[in-house]
């Protein structure tokens, strides 16, 4: 039996803005174990991004409980949340969010800047990961010299650099052509095969089917939660598996 990573109970979230209260999440229960590959699906406005932000310690929940690795994290303060992001989480964004004037290597090292790891070790670790995503020949490049697919691979290396317990990927293929998209999915699937927990947010069914499990969110509630039966497998070269 695999160990529990994320356990949320009756999670609610509302935004208060100049006397207007917007309720986004209406009571979500969700358990995710270590080693899972979960795709969170839902149309825009469904609350999936908010859920992701809360799970990724970017946002606070309004009511309910959130246990991460059996630790109650519902009431953490801003700095403690930052600490969790720094130690436990890796993010991959739709628009890559690389620093355009920094080199590939510097970009990957960025999260470690907020840890106490010595510089030499940071360089070593970042270089290893860039090698892993096949960009060892691009260490000194700035992102504007890279293709979209390469950029997202840099972002994946960055997400992994702090050895996170879970990687969040928010529409990671959204800005990519289908071939690069599949390359990215291949890397994510390989990572998951190696034991990494991955939570993917997407609105595309096809992309979601690369995961092991799909959680559908609609109007702030979980609509469906099921295992993927006919899972899609991306190949190294970005071709579809037959």
């Amino acid at each position: 039996m695999s160990t529990s990573l994320i356990r949320i109970n009756d999670l609610k979230k509302q935004f208060e803005n100049e006397e207007v209260i917007t309720k986004v999440l209406h009571g979500i229960d969700l358990n995710i174990d270590q080693g899972e590959f979960v795709a969170v699906m839902g149309p825009s406005g469904s609350g999936k991004s908010t859920l992701m932000n809360i799970l990724g310690f970017l946002d606070k929940l309004s009511t309910g409980t959130y246990q991460f690795e059996n630790q109650d994290v519902s009431k953490l303060e801003d700095d403690e949340l930052a600490e969790m992001r720094s130690k436990k989480i890796g993010f991959i964004f739709q628009s890559f969010n690389l620093l355009n004037r920094s080199t590939t290597l510097e970009n990957v090292m960025l999260p470690l800047f907020y840890t106490d790891m010595p510089k030499k070790e940071r360089v070593k670790r970042a270089t290893e990961l860039l090698t892993k995503v096949g960009l060892e020949h691009r260490l000194d490049y700035t992102p504007n010299k890279l293709s979209g697919g390469e950029k997202q691979r840099v972002a994946i290396a960055r997400a992994l650099v702090n050895k996170p317990d879970v990687v969040f990927a928010d529409e990671p293929t959204g800005n990519l052509d289908s071939k690069s998209g599949l390359q990215v999915m291949k890397i994510l699937q390989d990572l998951n095969e190696d034991g990494n927990t991955i939570i993917l947010v997407t609105h595309e069914r096809y992309t979601a089917e690369h995961a092991k499990r799909i959680v559908k969110v609609r109007d702030g509630l979980i609509e469906e939660d099921y295992r993927v039966e006919k899972r899609q497998w991306a190949k190294q070269n970005g071709e579809l598996a037959k």
């Binding site: 970017l58 946002d59 999260p111």
Partner: protein
Amino acid sequence: MNFVESITGSWKIITRSKVRSFLTMLGIVIGVMAVIIVMSVGAGAQSLILNQIKSVGSNTVGVMPGAAEEDGPPASVMGIVITTLTYEDGKEIEKKGCDCIEALTMYVSGNETITLEDTTVNTTFTGTTASYLDVEDTSVEEGRFFSEDEEKGVARVVVLGDEVKEKLFGDQDVIGRKIRMKKVNFTIIGIMKKRGISGFQNQDDQVFIPISTAQKLLLGIDHVSMVRAKVDMAENVDKAMESMRIILRDRHDIDSDEKDDFVVRSMAQGLEALGTVTNALKFFLVAISAIALVVGGFGIMNIMLATVQERTREIGLRKAVGAKSRDITLQFLVESVVITFVGGVLGIIFGVLISVLVAYVAQKMGYKWDLVVTLSSILLGCGVSIGIGLVFGIIPARRASKLNAIEALRYE
């Protein structure tokens, strides 16, 4: 988060857009430069003035005719001709005054055209006494100065200043030759030693004649415009001044309840008054240059606010990967301080260079100008520039640190 790396990181950011960074720090560069220059040039000018006065002799006491209001200048300085001070007054002081008076001389002066055959030169003539050399601490280069007999006897002799001699005769021998001033023939008996500018007057561009000659033949007056005495020691200056006052009040029949009709001033008093004025002036100028620094500071703040906005996504990303609010605050604060500090250093460099240049030019022009660049002004420049970075950087830095990571990441 590593502090040294924040600094090198900021340095990278600053150097990758050099023009923009330079323009950003320009206000600070100019401000610090202005402060350094004002302090240095101010001190230089002060040294010039003090040197000028000291070259006249700091143990000297001057008597000028006319009453003065409190510490104000005597009326004679204001261009009013007052005839109450006479040659006999001076002689009386010399005879009966305090023993501490080493030497005493008197002056009258005017402007006159000197004619030598076809050449004419406009210059200042000073009618004075034989003791002039002792009081003014100078000597003749060639020939001799006039004697006491000549001083009293309306002798038609002249001692030329170095520059006047150069203009009239060049390299020729001049002792014994004659020049004309106001249709009077004078025999040249000596050439003064070159003295440069002293007491706000070019000492080399004048000629010296016996005081009686100047009074009777050139000016047609009986009074003198100033009496100057040299006192043996600084401690005796007050004593000398008092003795001079007593003698003059007696000679001028001034009742005990009446004010002096003359002013006795020591050089020390003059120095003190001048010091107060120049210090006030310096303070005023430094205050004005400080305005440039404040303006520069607002410039930095403006640019840093723009930078924060420009780099909103970067801030969001940094937060997403684990930066705490204080990491972000520190990053932007370090950046603004690095900018202002670099600006300050550039300002110091330019300021010192310009100060050196000013001193060099002034010295070349013959002024006794000291180059004064104090360590304290440099430290002040550094400190102020760092302080401005902190003060004007904190608002943008706090704004950056307060950005919401989620919104910042979505910022276009």
